[in-house]
């Protein structure tokens, strides 16, 4: 049992040593292949990483959702109070507070430009507003949207506005970007898989004589194929690691830009973004797995010995 395991591990060690020796003999060709895989993996990795950062930087739902219910202008105070009470009784509403038209006017007057403009009106053009804080079940879509629609349909209500509308739009943009990036990532993964399959195929073709000799000397298929799997694994791990390094560097640049972008959306929050060891781990793992799969694809039907 122990001896069998030793034999098995030994044969792996030999296959690995042979693979590395082969790389050392053709460093340029190997470096080109590794770079090719690195580029193919880095593109989706950077995009996925950027998406991940966006998600991490977004305020998400840490801003309490709020629905501003604008009542028709000139609604009498009594009606405003009645409506506010009615709204408070609606399912999904946690708290309401009323901003009367006069209060809005007072607040606006303090801002010089708007205040001057307001002086042009005979009467107060501003509506009363009922600020609604939804409960835990209605503070995000689709609940928030439904509640907002319900409030909008109340008699005496002009329109409603949620403070997280921009967030929803950004969510939609991100969802679109996510789908696109995931599709691209799949395509690039396929590229890596096929490139490795082609490389391994051409390597077996160019070493057919050697394979045949090994077979004649009593090597089994697994023994003959093993170095090719190690070759693919090395390409994948090397390419993946390089792709990881590139995307970590790119991530640092993109991160800065993202913060600037999100600052435009009033976002003062930021959480820790994906740590670089994790990025390296993912790309290296993906590279290794894809290249092994590529080698398997290339070798699965192949008989290398006679």
């Amino acid at each position: 049992m122990f001896a069998t395991l030793r034999l098995y591990l030994d044969s792996h060690r030999l296959a690995m040593a042979e693979t590395l020796a082969r790389f050392a003999k053709a460093p340029l060709a190997s470096a080109l292949t590794v770079s090719l895989i690195a580029v193919a993996l880095a593109l989706p990795a950077i995009a996925l990483n950027a998406l991940h950062h966006t998600g991490a930087l977004l305020p998400d739902h840490s801003i309490p959702a709020k629905i501003s219910v604008y009542l028709r202008p000139q609604t009498a105070d009594a009606d405003v109070r009645r409506l506010a009470e009615e709204i408070a009784g609606i399912e999904g509403v946690s708290r309401v507070s009323v901003i009367r038209a006069e209060e809005s006017l007072r607040a606006f007057r303090q801002q010089r430009d708007i205040g001057d403009m307001l002086a042009l009106f005979d009467s107060n053009p501003l509506p009363a507003v009922v600020e609604v804080a939804p409960d835990g079940h209605h503070d995000r879509d689709p609940g928030l949207n439904l509640l907002s629609a319900r409030l909008r349909n109340l008699a005496g209500v002009d329109r409603t506005e949620t403070n997280v509308a921009w967030l929803r739009r950004l969510d939609a943009i991100i969802a679109l970007a996510q789908t696109t990036v995931h599709l691209l990532a799949l395509l690039f993964a396929a590229v890596v898989l096929l490139v490795i399959a082609a490389i391994i195929r051409s390597e077996t073709e160019s070493r057919r004589d050697e394979m045949e000799i090994l077979g004649l000397l009593g090597a089994g298929e697994a023994f003959i194929k093993r170095p090719f799997f190690y070759t693919a694994l090395c390409y994948g791990l090397g390419g993946g690691l390089l792709a990881g390094l590139v995307s970590v560097l790119a991530g640092a640049v993109i991160d800065e830009r993202l913060r600037q972008l999100l600052a435009l959306y009033d976002n003062a929050l930021s959480r820790d973004v994906a740590s670089w060891p994790r990025v390296l781990l993912y790309t290296t793992g993906a590279g290794g797995a894809l290249c092994l799969a590529g080698a398997w694809l290339s070798l699965r039907k192949e008989r290398l010995s006679r």
Binding site: D10, G218, G220, F223
Partner: protein
């Protein structure tokens, strides 16, 4: 050790071996001769399971190898040392690595492999050339590397297909005598050669094939 029962082998309709019955005892040595295309190589290749017979049975060491699964063939070949006419060495590695291949395949330890490779090279008179590339050797020396590779595993059976095909008479005799030595050390040995003048003088059994038929056995 090697038995063929009514073995027929055809290649694209051409009969290479026609109902051959042949028996080589444990520890015996024989030469297989005949003109080019008589079926010598085919017979050797059947014994090493490189080819399969169309009819009949091939037994090696008491086992019917015509019924071997593909996955079992490597184990058969590890008991057989095969010397090829064009020696089939790998020119991208040293003499040492070439000879060590069967040991690597069999999973020998590094220290043990080193000893056995040097012992094999010593037997064929090439000790001290381990680090060279086979391309740096003469044709006769390359053939001897091929022989060292065939015997390094101490095989039960030694098969050689025209091992002196490209060599001058003096070298050829040396090589054939080497096979005699390995046979005396216990390996059942079967050597295919068209060089009748050479093998007649060696005093071993000579089996003659003619157009796939067994023509003489003496």
């Amino acid at each position: 050790m090697i038995q063929l029962h009514k073995v027929v082998k055809r290649f694209r309709g051409e009969t290479a071996l026609a109902e051959i019955d042949f028996d080589l005892g444990d520890g015996e040595m024989a030469f297989l001769t005949g003109h080019s295309g008589a079926g010598k190589s085919t017979l050797l290749r059947l014994v090493a399971a490189i080819e399969r017979p169309d009819f009949g049975r091939v037994f090696v060491n008491g086992r019917d190898i015509t019924r071997l699964k593909r996955s079992q063939i490597p184990y058969l070949r590890r008991r057989i040392g095969f010397v090829f006419q064009n020696h089939r060495l790998l020119f991208d590695r040293t003499v040492f690595d070439n000879v060590a291949l069967p040991l690597r395949i069999g999973g020998a330890g590094r220290v043990d492999a080193g000893k056995r490779v040097r012992a094999a090279l010593d037997k064929v008179g090439l000790l001290g050339r381990e680090a060279l590339n086979p391309a740096a050797l003469s044709a006769g020396q390359q053939q001897r590397v091929g022989i060292a590779r065939a015997i390094v595993n101490r095989p039960l059976i030694l098969l050689a297909d025209e091992p002196t095909g490209n060599l001058d008479p003096e070298l050829s005799l040396e090589i054939m005598e080497l096979f005699g030595e390995f046979n005396r050390a216990g390996a059942t040995t079967l050597v295919a050669s068209h060089d009748l003048a050479l093998i007649r003088g060696l005093g071993h059994r000579v089996v003659t094939l003619d157009n796939g038929h067994l023509a003489a056995d003496a």
